[in-house]
């Protein structure tokens, strides 16, 4: 056998070589890229003017599934359970949002939730268990930061949904003191003095939930933290939130839909509306949200500070641009002064000025919505009264357009016209009052979709025309662009990926074009709004269904004319009824062209016929409230609208 030469390598040289190689290999493996995501906070986006933004409400679990490895417990198709959407899915589909034209996403809460309760999952994010940890269903903190980075890189702001009112189903009331949570205690018939009561979610008691058995009351029911780690149902985090004294512990709100009975039960005469309403509000502010969501004592200074701490944490943790605040009306007003001030101070201090604070006041009472925009409180609220009265009442159910004018007029009575100190400002740095930045929307995750009960896409498109031409901040609920039509929760939380992210969907294309129009004519974003026409008429009258308004900004103007009538052309006059034609600040002789997407491009000339006019110095000031400068007769097909601008400003 041929002998190979013995390698002339000393053992010591082998030792040294291997040592160096292994050390070098290990050093090269140090992960600089991952370390980068933990670097000190540096803001990567700034909002110039919130009125120029278009918000897209994105429910993370339902948008796109980018990583199947976090699909724990997913049951496809069961909309009350996790469906698998995650932050990777948003990253993978950011082009869809860019092409649509939205410039801000409102993402559902990111915090770790109670996993499941009573057969439903915490996919929506409103069942907080840990205020400062992320929900692993959506990814980890690195993935969340990556998503924000990607959105910012695509010029899309990120608004984080937060909950200050309550936590998840993290404790029960041991009413019968047997040391275990009982679904039902008490009698089983109609003659028993005890009613069926769930220790998870007992009815409201203003004294605090009381213990009792068949022998009578036994004092306040002990608060027992759940201990079910397999579904993350346990004492909340951070640890200070695991103090029972931080919760009202009065049980669930029971007044809704039965206010009179509830007052009577509480010993209050329902005829005494003020007293009854006060009781209703006490329940709303201190009662547990239905489903066993335990209400925090936001009246306590230590609770307020803890909430400020946990939410300022997220500003720098993931570089967000605003908060959408859940269940605002369930927290006392003076909390919002302290909370909002602290958040704004922090955001400004860390280089995030123009940080938007807006909230959900789920109520149709306009005065109540507006009360949360009082000085020191929120920058804005969702315009729920408009959603109910205008987008539902007028556009879906045919109420007269005079409702719109009445509501918009009340805005200046019910909402603050004073900018919040340290709050949002316009692109010139001028503070913006809440009246200018209300968040307008057609629907959301808590109400049936616009198309649910009246699947009429023409009406939807007409409503969208108002959404993108009125003042304030437009907000679209995900799936609208795909003509989703689900009813109440959870049917209105469909999986967007089942649409195939169809960019050829007519509504996707139409929203895209409306956003482009809004951006092309700045008055539609920033302009003063002056109502030009509204009507009480809804039948065959010549102006039935017409609503018109001017938007004026820096000398530029657009006249928006909408016809909500579903079956007839209407015009901007009621001369047959003795009314004058619609007035305008445009001078007679001005030729206006319709630039509404999907329109016919018709032209209309301003005249001095049909109304009383005066000679106006052109252009008029943005907030002009003087006499009419010209008369304008515009006809609009049913379920259509027009945006009229001077011919010289028409963009290709």
């Amino acid at each position: 056998m041929r002998r190979l030469p013995v390698p002339r390598i000393s053992l010591s040289r082998i030792c040294a070589t291997t040592f160096i190689a292994l050390t070098a290999a290990l050093a090269l493996s140090c992960n600089n890229e991952v370390v980068r995501v933990t670097e000190q906070f540096t803001p990567t986006s700034q909002v110039v003017d919130w009125r120029g933004e278009v918000v897209y409400q994105l429910m993370v679990d339902r948008f796109a599934n980018g990583d199947i490895n976090n699909d724990h417990g997913v049951i496809p198709g069961d909309l009350g359970r996790y469906q698998g959407g995650d932050w990777q899915g948003v990253i993978d589909n950011v082009d869809y949002l860019v092409e649509l034209g939205v410039t801000a996403v409102w993402i559902s809460p990111v915090v770790r939730n109670v996993e499941t309760d009573a057969g439903f999952d915490g996919y929506h994010g409103y069942w907080t268990q840990d205020f400062t940890d992320v929900n692993p269903h959506f990814g980890d903190i690195a993935k969340l930061r990556e998503m924000v980075d990607v959105l910012h890189a695509n010029n899309i702001r990120v608004i984080l949904d937060i909950v200050t009112n309550h936590v998840g189903q993290v404790f029960y009331y041991d009413i019968n003191r047997n040391g275990r949570p009982d679904e039902s205690i008490g009698g089983s018939g109609t003659n028993s003095p005890l009613v069926r009561t769930s220790e998870y979610d007992p009815d409201f008691d203003i004294r605090g939930i009381q213990g009792y058995t068949s022998l009578g009351e036994s004092g306040p029911a002990p608060t027992i933290w759940m201990d079910m780690p397999e579904i993350n149902r346990g004492a909340p985090e951070p640890a200070e939130f695991a103090n029972p004294e931080w919760y009202w512990r009065r049980g669930r709100v029971t007044v809704w839909g039965r206010e009179a009975d509830a007052c009577r039960q509480a010993g209050i005469d329902p005829a005494n509306w003020d007293a009854c309403y006060n009781y209703v509000r006490i329940q709303e502010v201190t009662g547990d949200f239905p489903g066993g969501l335990k209400d925090l004592r936001t009246d306590l200074p230590e609770v307020r500070q803890a909430l400020i701490d946990v939410f300022t944490f997220w500003i720098t943790e993931i570089d967000i641009d605003g908060f959408r605040i859940d269940t605002v009306k369930h927290v006392e007003h003076d909390f919002w002064v302290q909370f909002s001030t602290a958040i704004r101070d922090y955001a400004n201090a860390v280089g995030k000025p123009n940080f938007l604070l807006f909230g959900e006041v789920f109520d149709g009472a306009d005065w109540l919505l507006g009360s949360y925009t009082a000085p020191g409180m929120l920058d804005s609220v969702f315009y729920f009264s408009q959603k109910f009265q205008v987008y539902d009442g007028v556009f879906k159910y045919g109420a007269p357009t005079a409702v719109i004018e009445d509501l918009w007029t009340e805005r200046y009575e019910n909402y603050s016209s004073i900018p919040q100190p340290g709050g949002v400002f316009d692109f010139q740095g001028n503070p913006l009052p809440p009246t200018s930045v209300l968040v307008n929307f057609l629907d959301n995750h808590d109400v049936p979709r616009f198309l649910f009960d009246l699947p009429d896409v023409d009406r939807l498109h007409n409503a969208l025309r108002l959404l993108f031409t009125q003042d304030g901040i437009p907000c679209i609920y995900y799936g609208t662009e795909q003509q989703f039509s689900g009813g109440n929760d959870p049917a209105n939380r469909e999986n967007l990926w089942e649409s195939g992210f169809d960019r050829s969907n007519p509504t996707y294309q139409y929203i895209r074009s409306l956003i482009q129009m809004r951006r092309a004519y700045p008055e539609l974003m920033y302009g003063y709004l002056g109502i030009a026409w509204s009507t009480e008429r809804t039948g065959d009258e010549e102006d039935a269904g017409i609503f018109a308004f001017e938007r004026r900004f820096a000398g530029n103007r657009a006249m928006v004319v909408l016809n909500v009538h579903t079956s007839k052309n209407s015009v901007t006059t009621a001369e047959s009824l003795g009314a004058e034609r619609m007035t305008t600040t445009f001078a007679p002789g001005t030729v206006l062209v319709d630039v509404m997407p999907g329109g016919d491009g018709a032209t209309f000339t301003v005249t001095d016929e049909g109304c009383t006019t005066v000679a106006c110095e052109q252009p008029v000031p943005d907030d002009y409230r003087g006499s009419a400068c010209g008369c304008l007769l515009v006809d609009v097909p049913p379920n259509m609208g027009r945006v009229l601008v001077e011919r010289s400003r028409v963009q290709p």
């Binding site: 082998i14 292994l22 490895n69 980890d140």
Partner: protein
Amino acid sequence: MKRRSSRLWRACITGLIGYAALAPWGATLAQAQTADEQVTSVVSPSPDPPGNGVRGEFQFGSYGRVVVASDLDGGAGKEVNVVSFGPRLQESPYLELDLAYALRTNTDAEFKTVITAALVNAMFHYDGDFDGQIALRNAFVEASGFGVEGLSFWAGSRMYRGDDIYLLNFWPMDNLNTVGGGTRYAFTPDMSLAVHFGANRLDNRLQFQNVAVPAPTFGTENRILNDRLRPIVSARWEHLFHELAPGVGMKYVVWGDFQRLGEGVTRDNNDVEIELPTDTGYTLGAQVGAWGFTPNGFANLFFRYSRGLAVAGELNIPTAGLATDRTYASASQVRLGTSFNAESRWIGVTGGAYMQWFSDADDVNYDRDDYAEGVFAVRPAIFITDHFHQAFEISYQRRVPEGLSPRTDSYLEPAILQFGFMPTLSLGRGMYRRPVLRIIYAASLLNAGARDLFPEGDPRHEASTQHFLGLGAEWWFNSSTYR
């Protein structure tokens, strides 16, 4: 001899100060050898062969270890490792019983039956549970001597593996646990090719699942919903070179394997049916070894590249780190390893190290499941007498993840520096002489990243130094695992 001893001294000192991979190779020639070569000693020639000139030889062997240990804080000694294959100082009890019976004809055809039963969690005297787990590891027959020199066949269940890194208790290149069969042909006594074909069907709903369906009369009956047999094939080429210098030899090995899972469907705990796609995996490996530089001296260098299912191993089905199409084919792993041993009359040193880079199949950034890791362990010993020696061990292990800690949301690299002290009573001089009785003291220094792997309140999270003081025994003789 003197020159070789002084070189060895310098090598040992270098290794103790930093970490080094010495490069002789030796004693652990395992499954690559034929059954013939494994019969190195006849315990008792059977007096009752079946007749017709057939002789039988029975052999009993075993590998096992038992240890009881304290953490010096009122609790039991605990294993702490942050890498996939960490030092084995703190390993738990384990037992293999090897039974082999070789039947040889007067034409020298031989059929050898090898049975190895393995037991874990069987320390009734420790945990009070009379319910140890037993598994059949080897249960195969190997046949040779059919008139074709160097040709052998086998079939059955077999631990089909090559050379290990003893101190890290794993086989870095080729280690298949398979039911199947194979053949080996030795072109020359030093050059051989072995191929094998096996299959498994793990007791896991992703490979095999029954579901209840209505019976034609009353009650339910089982229907097979999912049945995915996993075929595995391998090939191994080995070439030895003897007497390159007196007593010195070298070898190289080339290895490859492939496995596949066909498509299927499974139903999860929520009764959701999930389509399972076809999935594959393969390994390519190479090994260079040498032996004889010192008494019982050996050294090996290993390289292994795996993709897909082969990364997870044949006894696993990956359920995490999947691509969006639920396949694992794009997962990859690169591994470099070394093992070595060198001895003289008074001193011995053995050691091992590896590095590996792992990336799972999901295509996400900042994925903490992806990592690089490495470990080295060196165990020098002083042979004080023929039967008593004092061993020490130093090891360092580190993992470099691609993502953040889920517990702290910060970037951490778990690492452990470990020191061991083992006075040992042994059958004889040598790092691999067994049986041994020994006391084991190990101090493990955990960094913040290592402690972060355990939940708050766990003693391994709370203290940066973990102690292990144990008393135990380890043995092997005629074992299919160790010789």
